[in-house]
Every structure is written in structure tokens, then in C-alpha cells.
């Protein structure tokens, strides 16, 4: 008798940072656990957060935004349950500041003073903005000293090429694309500004946190299996799956930086506390959420036990 | 079976203030009576017809009808001075409109409409739309539509004004036939004094604006009347009388600029 199957609705986006989920699903990591993953395609977590809080989505792979903090601050039943990407001190940069080769070569960017008056493009989404803000703080500058330009990602490359902006903040695969097109070079990886930053994670909503924790546990087992496959690196198989799910060329996927994910799913809570104090000073959040208010380790603990037994 | 208008007054609100169109209008139309309404241009004839038709609320006064119309049959049908032929319907649908409203089945109402269309001489144009007709042809559509409705009261606002003399005569004969066969009241606006005398049991002559009934003239000529009698002393007398009233009203209107 096959076990009763549980449906888990998970927000899907064809971004590189969804790679783990795509790999896990493609490799059937959930199948023998009785979990059926249903993808709900959306563009960003802005749309997904309320759905998660209302129990219309069960799992939201996401990145940190002030809205997430504010929602938990107000008692929404959502928690971070696993790592999905952080900024490693060494290795390739998943997010970076890029500038034209000439600007970097000129040496102007070697001192913070050189930033004054430059046009810097990014999105006021937290990570991009957090990196910039941290950069400026490190140099005792404020946002008034530069010109911040909000740009949709696809326009960044053209803007840099046309000289409409001086510096852009981008993530993969845009970094590789910009570099390969010759429009710009990496000037400063974001990890140098916000080292170790936990930019990406997996969230559960009330349906898995409260109603059906067991399903959450099982899902996590599948997820961590996916992480292990991901950590095998740029194997042909992995490249093909990710390229297939995101629609990117395989060469681009292969050339791009894959951010590291801890195979235990362990999450650096310290990083989020630092982020919160920054966001609070910026007036983006209404209060600080303590660790137990945003992080629920029970799921990875269970999954790690199961996976340890398997081996 | 007639109706009585009592102390009717109408004041239009316009951009340049109020305009008193009618004042103290009282008259009645008796059962099976043919009443003509003549008066200077702009004196309120069309306004009176709209009041009787219930399309306009009088500012003052009341209208009382002797009977409630039998089921289905409309109390009145109006031939509008501006024809009001629906541009989005072809001729036959325009003429059959009243029957459609009363729920007469399609084939039946088209058959009836066809009969009346033939009588106004438009059989070739049953399927035409109004913009393909001449002005007089549109007026005939509007006449046929009113006849088809077969009301108790026929309200006709210069119904034959856009027709040539001969077609007008044919239509007049048609009207007199319908009126004498079926008991109807007719309130008939015309600019043609001779026509009023030939058709009416009574003529109401109006003053200039604000319109009042200045005089009621009973026409006691035997029917059927003949246009060629028009030089009889009686007719000439009435004609000259109406003419004098009109002249006085129009001249004084023109003097004061309306």
C-alpha cells in the first residue's frame, strides 16, 4: 500500500537562485517521501509573501526583504527553515558591483571619495540596496553623495553599455552576461561589503509550521537531498536541469557563479540580526525580531537525522 | 372617451434662465373629435402634444383622460414633427415597432406593417435604412408607424409637412378613412389654415409665446368635405378670421423679436 501523498505548493521562479528546488524536483527527491510538489509560478516573493502567510502557498524560497521582517513582527505565522544561499568570503561572486573597464582602470574607484557623484543603478530590493548602503557607510558617505537609479534588471546591461550609469549592482546570471558582453567588469563583489550575508533562504507558512509539521519535515528531507545534488557542482546533469528550468543557455549557466549552500541547511542567524539593525536604522522595519521569531531549526534537525541514517 | 386639459403651463429651464412656453392652456377633446391646432411658430404646439402624450410633465395644470386604454392598445400615438424614425432599424422594423412592443409575433407584425407601408407608398423600401430615404419618405415611415399602433388618440405634429401636394392628399384621405372607420380622437398641428378647416371639427388658434388658446372655432361643415368648396362663404370667413389672428400674433411677435 503506497503511503498517502501530500501536496506541497511551492512558489516557483525560473531564476538561478531556485536551482536547488528545480534540482530536487527533477531528481525525484520528494517522490518516495509521499510529497507531490506543485509549482506555482510567480515573479517574485513580493507576491508570494502574503500568499504564504495566508496558507495559500506552503513553501516560499526567498530572499530577505524588510516586508518579511515586518510581517513576522506583526505575528504572521511564517519562519525561515533552511539556508538557500549566502555570501561566501572566498570563491566567485554571486552578487557584485560592476563598472566599465575604463572606470575601474582609471583608479577613481580605489577610494571611497571617488564614488561621489557617480550614478549607481540597482533595485531597491533589500540585497542590492543593503550592499550599497553598507558600502556607503563604510566610506562615511550617504545616499546624497551619489545618484541612485532604480532600474529593472534587463535594462542594466544596456544602461552600462550606453554610459547612462557608472556602476550597476547585479546578480547572476547578469554578472556573467555583462562581463562577457564587454559592457563592464566586476569592480567589487558584494561579499566584500556584507561578508557572510544570508541573502537567500527557504520559508514555511502556517500550513507546514502548524497544521502539518510532518509534511514539513518530509519536505525538508527532500530539500536537503536537493542541496546535496546542487553541491556536486556544475555537472552536466545539473547544468542541463537548471538551464532547462530557467531557459538560460547551458554555457551561461556553466559560466555563472553558483552561490554556496550549506548542505546541513544551517542558517546564519547572526547575519539576519545584523541586517535587521541596519534596516531598523534605515526606517524600513518597525522593530527587531529575535532569532526564535524568525528561525525554526526543527525541520533541518529532523532531516539531517534522517539523511544521516540513510548513509 | 375624450380628454380635458386644464390650466396647463410649461416653463423650460434654459441656459439663459427660464422660458415660459405655455400658460393657462385649457381645452378638451371630445369622443371621436378631430381638433386642429394652429399658431405662430414657436408658440408651443409641439409642447402641448408632448404633454398630452405624457412625454413631458406640465409645470402647472392637469390632463384628465376619460378612459383607461384597453389592454395592449396604446392610449396615444404621435407623429413627431422631427419624424423620430430609428436610424438603426429598417423601414419595416420601424413601422412594426409598436406591434413588437405589444408582443405581436414577428410574421404577423411584419404582415401588418407591410400593409401600411404599401399605403404610404414605400413598398420598395421595406428593407432600407432611414439614411437611404428622402425626408418625405422618412415622414411617411413615421406616419405608417403611428397608424399601425392604432391608438385611441392620434397626436399629429405637422404630419404631412414634408410631402408634395399630391402625396399629402393621398395621405390625408388615408387619415380620414382611418379616423372615420375607427373611433379616435385626433389632435392635429398644422400650418396650413385651409387644411385645418378641411379636417377639423374644431380649430384651436394659439397666441404667440407664451402660448395660450386664443380662440376655439367650431367648423360645422358637413363631411366628407371637398377641397374644391373652399371658396364657400363660410370657409372664406373662417380662413380670414384665423388669418387675422395669426397676423396679429406673428406681427407682434416679430416686433418684439420672437
Amino acid at each position: 500500500d503506497p503511503p498517502e501523498r501530500t501536496k506541497v505548493r511551492i512558489m516557483n521562479s525560473p531564476y538561478m537562485s531556485w536551482a536547488v528546488i528545480h534540482l530536487a524536483k527533477a531528481n525525484g527527491c520528494f517522490d518516495d517521501l509521499g510529497i507531490d510538489v506543485e509549482f506555482v509560478t510567480m515573479r517574485g516573493i513580493r507576491e508570494g509573501l502574503p500568499a504564504l502567510a495566508q496558507g495559500r502557498l506552503d513553501v516560499l524560497p526567498g530572499f530577505i526583504t524588510p516586508g518579511y521582517v515586518n510581517l513576522m513582527q506583526r505575528g504572521a505565522g511564517i519562519r525561515i527553515v533552511a539556508d538557500k544561499g549566502y555570501m561566501e568570503a572566498e570563491g566567485c561572486p554571486y552578487r557584485a558591483f560592476l563598472a566599465s573597464r575604463e572606470l575601474v582602470a582609471s583608479g577613481r574607484l580605489d577610494s571611497f571619495e571617488g564614488l561621489r557623484g557617480l550614478r549607481i543603478a540597482g533595485e531597491r530590493t533589500s540585497t542590492s540596496y543593503y550592499a550599497l548602503s553598507s558600502l556607503l557607510r563604510a566610506g562615511n558617505l550617504t545616499e546624497d553623495d551619489i545618484e541612485w537609479i532604480d532600474l529593472p534588471t534587463p535594462a542594466k546591461q544596456g544602461a552600462l553599455e550606453a554610459g547612462a550609469v557608472d556602476i550597476v549592482n547585479a546578480s547572476e546570471p547578469w554578472i556573467t552576461r555583462i562581463v562577457q558582453s564587454g559592457a563592464g567588469v566586476i569592480w567589487l563583489p558584494a561579499r566584500d561589503v556584507v561578508p557572510g550575508f544570508q541573502h537567500s533562504f527557504l520559508m514555511f507558512g502556517p500550513s507546514l509550521l502548524e497544521k502539518d509539521r510532518e509534511a514539513g519535515m518530509k519536505f525538508m528531507v527532500g530539500y536537503l537531498r536537493g542541496v546535496r545534488i546542487y553541491n556536486e557542482g556544475k555537472t552536466d546533469h545539473n547544468v542541463r536541469v537548471i538551464a532547462g528550468e530557467t531557459g538560460l543557455e547551458e554555457t551561461l549557466v556553466r559560466d555563472a557563479c553558483w552561490p554556496p549552500i550549506r548542505s546541513t541547511g544551517e542558517y546564519d542567524t547572526e547575519s539576519l540580526l545584523t541586517y535587521q539593525s541596519w534596516a531598523f536604522e534605515e526606517g524600513l522595519i518597525d522593530g527587531l525580531v529575535p532569532v526564535e521569531g524568525f528561525w525554526d531549526p526543527a525541520f533541518i534537525e529532523y532531516a539531517n537525522r534522517v539523511l544521516a541514517e540513510e548513509h | 372617451m375624450g380628454f380635458q386639459c386644464k390650466d396647463l403651463g410649461v416653463t423650460y429651464k434654459t441656459q439663459n434662465g427660464e422660458l415660459e412656453a405655455l400658460t393657462d392652456v385649457s381645452f378638451s377633446v371630445r369622443d371621436h373629435e378631430f381638433v386642429c391646432l394652429v399658431g405662430p411658430s414657436g408658440c408651443g404646439k409641439s409642447t402641448i402634444l408632448k404633454l398630452v402624450a405624457g412625454l413631458l410633465e406640465p409645470t402647472l395644470g392637469t390632463i384628465a383622460f376619460d378612459t383607461v386604454p384597453a389592454n395592449g392598445r396604446p392610449r396615444n400615438a404621435m407623429v413627431f414633427q422631427e419624424h423620430g424614425v430609428f436610424p438603426w432599424m429598417n423601414v419595416i422594423d420601424n413601422v412594426a415597432f409598436g406591434l413588437e412592443i405589444r408582443g405581436v409575433p414577428r410574421e404577423e407584425r411584419r404582415a401588418i406593417a407591410r400593409r401600411f407601408i404599401a399605403r404610404v407608398g414605400l413598398s420598395h423600401f421595406e428593407e432600407s435604412h432611414p439614411h437611404e430615404l428622402s425626408v418625405g419618405m422618412r415622414q411617411r415611415v413615421s406616419i405608417a408607424r403611428a397608424f399601425v399602433n392604432d391608438p385611441e388618440i392620434l397626436l399629429m405634429d405637422e404630419p404631412f409637412g414634408s410631402l408634395d401636394a399630391m402625396t399629402k392628399m393621398v395621405m390625408t384621405e388615408e387619415l380620414m378613412g382611418i379616423w372615420s372607420r375607427q373611433r379616435k380622437q385626433v389632435l392635429y398641428v398644422t400650418h396650413d389654415i385651409e387644411e385645418a378647416i378641411m379636417l377639423g371639427d374644431r380649430i384651436l388658434v394659439m397666441t404667440g409665446r407664451p402660448g395660450r388658446i386664443r380662440e376655439e372655432i367650431e367648423i360645422r361643415l358637413p363631411r366628407p368635405r371637398d377641397l374644391r368648396d373652399r371658396d364657400s362663404a363660410e370657409i372664406v370667413k373662417i380662413k380670414e378670421h384665423v388669418w387675422e389672428i395669426l397676423e396679429e400674433e406673428v406681427r407682434s411677435g416679430l416686433r418684439e423679436g420672437s
Binding site: N12, P14, Y15, F39, V40, T41, M42, R43, R46, E47, P50, A51, Q54, R56, L57, P154, Q157, G158, E161, R177, S181, T246, G247, L248, E249 | K50, A53, G54, L55, P74, N76, A77, M78, F80, E82, H83, G84, V85, F86, P87, W88, M89, F97, G98, E100, I101, R102, H129, P130, H131, R138, N149
Partner: protein, 259 residues
């Protein structure tokens, strides 16, 4: 045939001629790489991409998803809009009562209120359709209302004089009398519905021309991007042809002359 008529008979060939000249010009300019080829592929490349996408069947899938969304949304929004527009155009009382609400709701940004709609109606088909429906509701309402108000009062008088009920007046006077403006509303509404369908697909669908556009952006396949946009344009041309046919069939009287 005099000169004027001859010139008139040339008209149908002018738009294609303009199109061909423009495309040839762009083709030349892009081939000469005067514009950055990364963002400005030559039209021939776009056409061949379009051809490939069609033969692979993918395009038709996306197209039919979008058209379905568009039509469902339009019917759900446009017809209530038309009916309400007729009521509001016809009755001053209804207009005075409802117009403030219409005015307040119209500018509420459709796409940016999608999140709220998702909060209220969930993340499925319903929310997506509601957004598209709302978008076509307003052009239909406002145009129908204006259309009804321009009907000459004499036609209402004639209808009332024939004893027409409110329903009959609606069907036989209000509706046909405002058809030219309802059709202008249909054209606007369908186009807005299309735009919003695309935007919704961009945000959260997994199928449709909008998804295609977004995927093309995301993967920087510029030919596909243009091919998707050309497909949207073709839908727009179909909409216009449809409205044109309706105009010719339903209101020959209005485009020629009116009594």
C-alpha cells in the same frame, strides 16, 4: 475613372507598402550595426525566430493561453461594464449615485493592486482573471455611458410613446443607439485586457505571451522578445478587424449617416 478615384483605389496597398519600406530600412540599419545588435536584431531574424517558434508549436500554446485569458477577462468585465454603462447613461439618478465610485475605482492601478487582489481572492485563476476583467470593465462602462448620452432624446420619446417597457427601451433604443461607442469601448477594452493579460502573465503565469516576453528578457533572447511582441501586435490587428466587421455589420447606418 478619374484621378481621385484612382488614388482612392490605391489606399489598401499603402499600409503594407509602408510596412515593407520601414522593415527594409530597419533591416539595413541593423545589418550595418548602426544600432547595437544585442538589442536591435534585424527584422529578418525576428521573422525567422517567429517561424521557428510557430513550427515548434510553443508559440501557439502561449498564444492560446493569452487569448483565452483575454477573452474570459473581457467577457467577465466588459459585459457588466456595458450593462452598467447603459444604466448610467440612461438614468441620471443611477449615474449620479454610481459615478463617484466608478471614478474612485478606475484609477486604482490594476497591476499594482494585483497583490491585494491576491490577498483577497487567492493566487489562482480567479485573481488573474479579475485583474483582466477589471481592466476592460472601465473602458466599456465609460464609452457606453457616453454613447447612451448622445442618443437623441426623441428616440426615447418615440419608444415611450409606443408603450415600450424599460427592458424594451434598453434593447431597442439604448443598445443599438450606442453601438458605435460600445464598439469603440470593445476595441479599447480588448486591447487593455490584452495588455493586462500580458502584464499578469509577466508577473505570475506560467503560460502566455507575457510569460514568453518575460522569459525572453530573463534569458536575453532578444529575437524571441521581439517575436513575442510582434505576436501581441498581431492579436491587436485581429481585434481591430473584428471590431471593423462588427461595425460594418451592426451599424451601417452610423458610419454613413443618421436620421
Amino acid at each position: 475613372m478619374n484621378g481621385r478615384k484612382l488614388a482612392g483605389s490605391m489606399i489598401p496597398v499603402i499600409p503594407p507598402a509602408i510596412l515593407i519600406v520601414t522593415l527594409t530600412l530597419i533591416e539595413t540599419v541593423t545589418r550595418m550595426e548602426i544600432l547595437p545588435s544585442l538589442f536591435f536584431p534585424p527584422p529578418s531574424a525576428i521573422v525567422s525566430t517567429l517561424y521557428d517558434m510557430t513550427t515548434e508549436g510553443e508559440l501557439l500554446d502561449h498564444l492560446s493561453a493569452t487569448v483565452l485569458r483575454l477573452l474570459t477577462g473581457f467577457l467577465l468585465g466588459g459585459i457588466p461594464g456595458m450593462i452598467l454603462g447603459m444604466m448610467m447613461g440612461w438614468s441620471t439618478a443611477i449615474r449620479r449615485i454610481l459615478d463617484p465610485f466608478v471614478a474612485a475605482l478606475h484609477p486604482v492601478p490594476k497591476i499594482s493592486s494585483l497583490p491585494i487582489i491576491m490577498i483577497i481572492f487567492g493566487i489562482g485563476f480567479v485573481s488573474r482573471t479579475i485583474v483582466v476583467a477589471v481592466a476592460s470593465f472601465f473602458p466599456m462602462l465609460i464609452n457606453t455611458m457616453a454613447g447612451v448620452r448622445q442618443i437623441h432624446p426623441i428616440y426615447f420619446d418615440v419608444a415611450r410613446n409606443s408603450g415600450a417597457s424599460r427592458m424594451q427601451i434598453l434593447r431597442r433604443v439604448v443598445l443599438p443607439g450606442s453601438t458605435p461607442f460600445i464598439l469603440a469601448g470593445v476595441r479599447l477594452g480588448l486591447n487593455v485586457s490584452l495588455s493586462i493579460s500580458l502584464a499578469v502573465e509577466l508577473l505570475l503565469a506560467d503560460k502566455g505571451i507575457g510569460t514568453l516576453i518575460w522569459m525572453a528578457w530573463q534569458t536575453m533572447r532578444i529575437e524571441e522578445l521581439y517575436a513575442a511582441i510582434v505576436t501581441a501586435a498581431l492579436v491587436g490587428i485581429s481585434i481591430r478587424l473584428f471590431v471593423q466587421v462588427m461595425l460594418d455589420r451592426c451599424v451601417p447606418w452610423a458610419t454613413k449617416a443618421r436620421t
